[in-house]
């Protein structure tokens, strides 16, 4: 899974050279053999790729911004990956509240945080019923925006999002 992500990310970043990755450990942490030695861990590898592609703005433009990006990258790896059924609701609820007033996760600019959160949330969102997608309206809006972001989707199936609200009253 992580390897597919990395491959998609490379395509998105426009990197001509496609790296070979290996994995280590039970958690299948991705490893990249670079000139300066092995780069271990999804986030580390992704940051490395971003720097290779000379797109440092994707990691944040100011110190504060960089901190926010990093916070969401951490969130992806610690809270989203491998979360069980019960936690899904909490994650979506929190995210829904957070995204009320933001276009992207860090505000108004697309960053690596959006890309990795999109990849990470995809398996959860793909299983949501229509009424759940309406319930987490802001997450759905952000998700739909990202899956249409040029060059991002690649290995993931598109999730259908209805333009109009279908569940207007409480009982469904």
């Amino acid at each position: 899974m992580a390897l597919k992500e990395l491959s998609s990310l490379e395509k998105f970043l426009g990197l001509k050279k496609h790296n070979k990755y290996s994995t280590q450990g039970d958690n299948k942490v991705p490893v990249l053999q670079s000139n300066n030695g092995p780069v271990v861990g999804l986030l580390t590898v992704c940051s490395h790729l971003v720097n290779e592609a000379k797109r440092p703005e994707l990691l944040g433009s100011s110190t504060e911004h960089r901190a926010m990006v990093h916070q969401w990258l951490e969130y992806r790896v610690t809270k989203v990956d491998g979360c069980g059924r019960e936690e899904v609701k909490t994650v979506l609820k929190d995210l829904n509240l957070y995204l009320q007033d933001k276009v992207y996760l860090t505000g108004n600019c697309f960053t690596l945080a959006d890309a990795l959160m999109y990849y990470g949330l995809h398996p959860l969102v793909v299983d949501l019923a229509v009424h759940e997608k309406e319930q987490y309206m802001n997450v759905t809006r952000w998700f739909d925006h990202l899956q249409h972001y040029p060059g991002l989707r690649h290995h993931l199936a598109p999730v259908v999002v209805l333009r109009n609200r279908v569940y207007t009253s409480g009982h469904h």
Partner: protein, 529 residues
């Protein structure tokens, strides 16, 4: 004295000490009792002495038709300001009674209507009479003679808001037991309110176990009057269209819809089944030249489903008609009948709808004229557009039916629509296949608020084709011989469908459990009352 004696005497002493104490206690008790009795007697004497209104109230002898009283009893709903200052008699139930000093406030209830009544100490009523009124058990039936008075401030909690009764006589005709299994106010309380204020609501099982009392609530009265209205409008509309009402047998020899969900009864030395639908007999009537028929009767399905919309016994409203050239003539007739029913309910039963909505709020039922008709393939396309994955010939699952209902509501703004041309593989063997596409059939379902209420089709009226279809469905031809025979001597092309009375009422009113629209529901877990 010997040692034993000594012991004996201390024992005696101990005993006598105990005995003394006991005697003392008994004496005290007796004294208290005597005091109490004396007080009671004094009280009673006091009450008896002052009771000048003794004949104006009390518990009447049981009405055994002892006499013919030429007395007019006014209905509560007719208590309006026009009758102010008149003395009237009425019979109603005591909904509540509350004493406040020298007054007693009663709410008297009659079906959906209630009115405030007042018993006040004065020249007409004595203290004892007020006390009696305050102690009448709830739900008791009383005869009251009173003066109707206009009130300055509207009484918001009653249906008759501009008047109140000043009671001069009050007699209990039928007393209710003091402890009621459920409180009517709780049973009529909207769900949300109960939780908020810590006041109780009554759960469904309790209601159903004490149905007689639960049915007295204004909501229940309204629901079942509306249900009677549906039956009445069904009959009225179809009779006006030239349909004939028929009665079909419910004890039959072969399961009509398939052997799985049928009740078996012992029939003398053999067994028989309770009819799962009047399907076979409706069709035989068409072959017998009745042209257009309908029937209203019980339907028995031994389905072990404990859901919000299944009963083991319900009332089926069934239609069957011969048509000229195309089965859409049948669909048009059925949808027009449904629309007439919806209009009739909207125009003639608005009071009942509003009453139900007070306890169970819901959106008013919307429908289009002419009725919206979508093809099955269109429905599947809409579902796929919303992200549902399903095959062309798959049947609609209940969640998909509900989602499709939502999508149709959003797109066309209607709660009632027809889905036409179902895949042949998911329909019964007697369904006529589509002439242009063997994968589909001339069959249709109708939906209200996203839930199926009618399944119908053009029937196979050719004995040969019918046998082929039965064989294809692996049905034993011997078991349906009589059915097949009815088509051998000239049968017109025909079609029809059946609806469930309880389900239609539930969905029209926007309720969520079919037991709310069945007076004495039957399900796998309930056989009484």
């Amino acid at each position: 004295m010997t040692k034993e004696d000594a012991q004996g005497s201390t024992a005696e002493e101990a005993q006598s000490k105990k005995g003394l104490k006991k005697q003392q206690k008994e004496a005290e008790k007796a004294a208290k009792k005597a005091e109490k009795q004396a007080k009671l007697a004094a009280d009673q004497q006091g009450t008896e002495e002052d009771d000048f209104a003794k004949d104006q109230y009390g518990i009447s002898a049981m009405v055994q038709s002892q006499q013919k009283l030429d007395r007019e009893l006014v209905r509560v709903q007719d208590l309006t300001p026009e009758k102010a200052d008149k003395v009237i008699w009425l019979r109603a139930r005591v909904h509540t009674s509350r004493a406040k000093g020298k007054q007693c406030f009663l709410v008297l209830r009659q079906q959906q209507f209630n009115v405030q009544a007042l018993v006040a100490v004065g020249d007409r009523a004595s203290k004892q009479m007020v006390k009696f009124a305050a102690n009448i058990n709830k739900e008791s039936i009383v005869d009251v003679e009173a003066v109707l008075r206009k009130v300055e401030q509207k009484i918001e909690s009653c249906t008759q808001q501009e008047v109140e009764l000043h009671v001069e006589k009050i007699y209990v005709i039928s007393q209710a037991e003091a402890r009621l299994p459920l409180q009517l106010d709780d049973a009529a309380r909207p769900e949300g309110e109960g939780d908020e204020d810590g006041r109780a609501t009554v759960n469904q099982d309790t209601r159903l176990d004490n149905r007689v009392i639960d049915l007295r609530t204004t909501t229940s009265q309204a629901i079942f009057r509306l249900q009677a209205g549906v039956c009445m409008l069904f009959r009225e509309t179809l009779t006006n269209k030239g349909f004939v009402e028929i009665q079909t047998p419910k004890i039959i020899s072969a399961a009509s819809e398939g052997g799985a969900n049928v009740f078996t009864v012992s029939y003398f030395k053999t067994s028989a089944y309770l009819a799962q639908s009047p399907q076979l007999y409706k069709q035989m009537c068409i072959c017998a030249d009745f042209d257009k028929v309908f029937c209203v009767g019980p339907v028995f399905r031994a389905e072990d489903s404990n859901t919000h919309r299944h009963l083991t016994e319900f009332v089926g409203l069934d239609i069957e008609m011969a048509f000229n050239y195309h089965y859409h003539e049948v669909i048009d007739s059925i949808t027009d009948t449904m629309v007439q029913i919806f209009k009739g309910l909207r125009d003639r039963f608005q009071t009942e709808i509003q009453t139900v909505n007070k306890q169970y709020p819901s959106e008013p039922f919307k429908f289009l004229e002419p009725t919206l008709r979508l093809e099955y393939t269109e429905g599947v396309a809409m579902l796929r557009q919303a992200g549902v994955e399903m095959g062309d010939e798959d049947d609609l699952s209940t969640p998909n039916e509900k989602l499709l209902g939502r999508l149709v509501k959003e797109k066309y703004d209607t709660d009632f629509y027809v889905l036409d041309k179902y895949p042949l593989s998911v329909r019964p063997f007697y369904t006529m296949p589509d002439p242009s596409n063997p994968k589909y059939s001339n069959s249709y379902d109708m939906f209200m608020r996203g839930e199926e209420i009618l399944s119908g089709a053009q029937r196979v009226h050719d004995a040969q084709l019918l046998m082929e279809r039965a064989i294809h469905h692996e049905i034993d031809l011997e078991k349906i011989k009589a059915y097949i025979d009815s088509f051998r001597f000239g049968a017109p092309p025909h079609g029809g469908g059946g609806i469930g009375l309880e389900r239609v009422c539930m969905l029209y009113l926007g309720l969520h459990n079919i037991r709310q629209t069945s007076m004495f529901p039957r399900d796998p877990k309930r056989l009484t009352p």
